[in-house]
């Protein structure tokens, strides 16, 4: 299985490179350094938001987290409001944002395990609750400012024009890989994703792992929001929404099975990259929007044809 999933991650990565080159040919300047950095930066947001989604999808049991978008927005709003542009307040605000994100995830997890609410509805309901809370508390007035620390991290240059968010993504990516492949939690996560009865009878605390996974997903989505704020500098009500479905898409394009139990974060990273490169490429090509959409869909299907195929029925 490992071989298969690495190879799907790899082929997604290769496809991203192919798209880059294609872009460079279609559009001299597309593959220039600045744009590559920019695309990587954009992929990093999607990639970070999709970490939690990866974990939740691997956990199986129809697992999916549709609340990530709302939590992204909430995370950004918390930083925006509580730091009001002051670096000194960043750390406490960050802890608050991550804590609130984790709390939301925790509630999702409890709903899914203890109350047996199907994850899709639980997390979608939670989206409404979070959006509703944001509306109720702010009444649509976004007061505050982004602290320079986070804007520098995302928009500034660490070395050679590389913003700090890229190494951060790679570190988080490695961390996630370690979490999945080199910790007990990771092994248990895959197990419950495949067969919860087997996991239970092998001494895995199934509910605990599920709750933990949704909690992590909430926390990481909030982190994604914090980082996204560094890019947009301002918050708005719909900030995170555009990441919900693409986060699922990035996970699946990366070779993780929606049924659970199979996959990894390397694939998701590559998936995020593929989706971002494709969008960017199409943005730069001068086409009517309708045609862009058609091309986007067709190319995505072609990508799937290259590697995203399921097993044959007949061995």
């Amino acid at each position: 299985m490992r071989r298969i999933h690495i190879s799907s991650a790899l082929s997604a990565l290769l496809l991203a490179v192919v798209l880059f080159v294609l872009g460079g040919i279609l559009h001299p300047g597309f593959a220039n350094y600045g744009l590559v950095i920019n695309i990587l930066r954009l992929a990093a947001f999607l990639g970070i938001v999709a970490i939690g989604q990866t974990l939740v999808i691997i956990s199986g049991g129809e697992g999916i987290d549709l609340s990530v978008g709302a939590v992204v927005t909430l995370g950004a709003i918390i930083i925006y409001r509580f730091t009001n542009g002051h670096n000194e307040l960043f750390l406490p605000a960050l802890l608050l944002a991550l804590g609130v994100g984790a709390l939301i995830g925790l509630i999702n997890g409890i709903g899914v395990t203890a109350l047996r609410i199907p994850p899709l509805v639980m997390t979608l309901g939670m989206t409404g609750v979070v959006q509703g809370l944001i509306l109720a508390v702010t009444q649509g007035q976004m007061i505050g400012d982004a602290p320079p620390f986070i804007t520098d991290l995302v928009s500034g240059s660490l070395i050679l024009g590389i913003p700090g968010v890229l190494p951060l993504w790679i570190i988080i990516g490695l961390g996630t890989w370690l979490l999945l492949e080199r910790t007990r939690y990771g092994k248990h996560l895959f197990a419950i994703g495949v067969n919860r009865a087997t996991a239970l009878l092998s001494g895995v605390r199934v509910s605990l792992v599920v709750v933990l996974t949704y909690t992590l997903s909430g926390l990481l989505a909030a982190l994604g929001g914090v980082i996204l704020l560094g890019y947009t500098h301002r918050v708005f009500l719909n900030l995170g929404e555009q990441y919900t479905l693409p986060s699922v898409a990035a996970v699946v394009v990366g070779g993780t099975l929606l049924a659970g139990g199979v996959g990894g974060y390397g694939g998701t990273m590559a998936g995020a990259l593929v989706l971002t490169v494709l969008t960017s490429l199409l943005t730069t090509v001068q086409l009517p929007e309708a045609l862009r959409m058609i091309v986007y869909g067709v190319v995505l299907l072609l990508l799937l044809a290259v590697y995203g195929r399921q097993r044959r029925l007949r061995a």
Partner: protein, 521 residues
């Protein structure tokens, strides 16, 4: 009396074409990536005979059978049916020629009823492809009648397959194949999950089918079964057909030496009485679950306790209740201290291990690697980050010990043969070196050689002071391994056999319950 009814049902249900069938497989080859599942598989079978297909775990029996039934596409070789070369591109195609298989890993759909499963894809139809519900019901009932008396009466046409125990599922799978009125029926380890009486009934039926001109291929790791129902045996070794023998003129040890390179197959190792005086490790009092009605027993250190009786009389419940996997009442004391496990992880931490009886549903993670399956209960012992080298090393030791045939530890368990998968289920708990080992039919589908290896492992564990509680559907195994046997019937212990009384006759007598008045027997 009941039997006559059953016979008439059979006659009514199963009509065979009078034409003779002869099928031969020639030089079949199947590779999965680098693994050769079948290097050169050949066999011939004719109407009215039962051919045994034998071989160690992973030798290619299932692969060969599946090629014959169109479920697996061969890389090379051909099938010749009644003198004509044929190609089956799907199970449906093979079925059109009267060839049907009882799959080792079953082909049932848990969320559908017994009747729906049996008649899937060949439902009796009205116009507009509407299903004749009545007919489905009554014909299912007729089929179920074939095993009447050997299964609980809760096995009805309308029962969901998800609610069945593994022996009942196996029976449904057999009846499903039978409902196609096959000319060639392949039974791939169809007896591994059945208890003695169910096997008896199956053999009676096989006798009738054979007489009516059906051809059968029978796969099993139980020698006595092979010698009882088969005329000829074709033996596979490492994917090669090595020989085909008339059983009348072949001895058991000859067959074994054909299957495995060195025919050293040792049987059970029995403990001397002295351990019984050692301390009591587990004490169970008045254990009640949905099936158990008050069970009390003790297990000593260094003792193997068998749970006997027919299938489904509560043996699995005893094991699962001890392991904290099902709700229960009653008291369980572990080395003098009362324990209340509400989750298997607690039991595990206290040194218990449980090998479930249903590997497909409860024992395996099919898409995950062999390594991950073996180490699932043990990851806590490999630090943070996990010491993968250590884990691989220990896992590969146990795979060698159990003789698991595989290409690499990283391969998914799904790619293992049935017997090898069973060894994984067992191996993951042996790795934990448990103090109390709970085994639910642990050698199901395991070949003779590996079985003896497992017996030896159990003996070693016992010598180190482990306590073992085992249920086995094979009486020989149970009697051969256990120091004492508790015979369960209808949720109660009906007899405790040890020493003198630890005999087959006593076991059988006790299995049937005290007076046989219970209709569930």
């Amino acid at each position: 009396m009941g039997l006559i009814v059953v016979c008439m049902d059979v006659v009514r249900l199963v009509y065979y074409s009078m034409g003779k069938l002869s099928l031969s497989a020639q030089g079949l080859v199947k590779r999965y990536g680098g693994v050769t599942a079948l290097a050169n598989g050949s066999l011939t079978v004719r109407s009215g005979e039962v051919l045994a297909l034998m071989g160690a775990n992973g030798s290619g029996k299932s692969t060969l059978s599946k090629i014959i039934t169109g479920a697996v596409a061969p890389d090379k070789g051909q099938l010749v049916l009644n003198g004509q070369a044929v190609r089956f591109t799907s199970p449906l195609a093979a079925r059109r020629h009267g060839i049907v298989e009882v799959f080792q890993e079953l082909s049932l759909i848990p969320d559908m009823t017994v009747a729906e499963n049996i008649w899937l894809a060949h439902e009796p139809l009205l116009a507009l492809s509407m299903i004749r519900r009545r007919e489905v019901q009554s014909r299912t009932r007729d089929l179920l009648n074939l095993f009447a008396g050997t299964v609980s009466d809760l096995l009805q046409p309308e029962t969901l397959v998800a609610a069945l125990s593994s022996d009942e599922r196996q029976i449904v799978e057999i009846l499903k194949a039978l409902s196609h009125q096959p000319e060639l029926l392949i039974l791939d380890e169809a007896t591994a999950s059945l208890d003695k009486r169910q096997v008896e009934r199956l053999f009676e039926l096989i006798g009738q089918w054979k007489a009516q001109g059906m051809a059968l291929i029978f796969v099993s790791h139980r020698m006595q079964e092979i010698f009882r129902v088969c005329e000829r045996a074709t033996v596979l070794r490492n994917g090669l057909t090595v020989d085909s023998r008339e059983l009348a003129t072949t001895s058991e040890s000859e067959l074994v030496s054909l299957m495995v390179e060195q025919g050293a197959v040792e049987r059970y190792t029995k403990q001397t009485q002295e351990t019984l005086s050692s301390g009591v490790r587990v004490e169970v009092q008045d254990l009640r679950t949905k099936v158990l009605r008050g069970v009390s027993l003790q297990v000593h250190e260094g003792e193997i306790v068998g749970l006997g009786g027919l299938r489904g009389q509560g043996q699995s419940d005893v094991l699962q209740a001890l392991f904290g996997a099902i709700p229960k009442t009653g008291t369980i004391t572990l080395e003098g201290k009362p324990v209340r496990f509400t989750h298997p992880s607690q039991a595990m931490r206290a040194g218990l291990a449980y090998v479930p009886g249903d590997r497909g549903q409860e024992g395996l993670l099919p898409v995950r690697s062999i390594l991950e399956n073996l180490q699932l209960p043990s990851w806590a012992h490999y630090g943070l980050p996990l010491n993968m080298r250590g884990a691989s090393q220990e896992a590969s030791e146990i795979t060698q010990r159990l003789g698991i045939v595989m290409a690499s530890l990283q391969d998914p368990v799904r790619s293992l043969s049935g017997g090898n998968a069973q060894k994984v289920v067992l191996g993951k708990w042996l790795l934990r070196e448990p103090r109390i080992l709970l085994l639910d039919d642990p050698t199901k589908g395991v070949d003779v050689k590996a079985k003896s290896e497992i017996y030896q492992l159990l003996a070693e564990l016992r010598a180190q002071g482990a306590s073992i509680v085992i249920y086995s559907s094979e009486d020989e195994e149970l009697l051969g391994l256990s120091d004492r046997v508790f015979v369960l019937h209808d949720g109660l212990i009906r007899a405790e056999l040890s020493g003198e009384t630890l005999t087959r006759t006593e076991l059988v007598a006790a299995s049937l319950g005290s007076a046989g008045k219970d209709s569930r027997v």
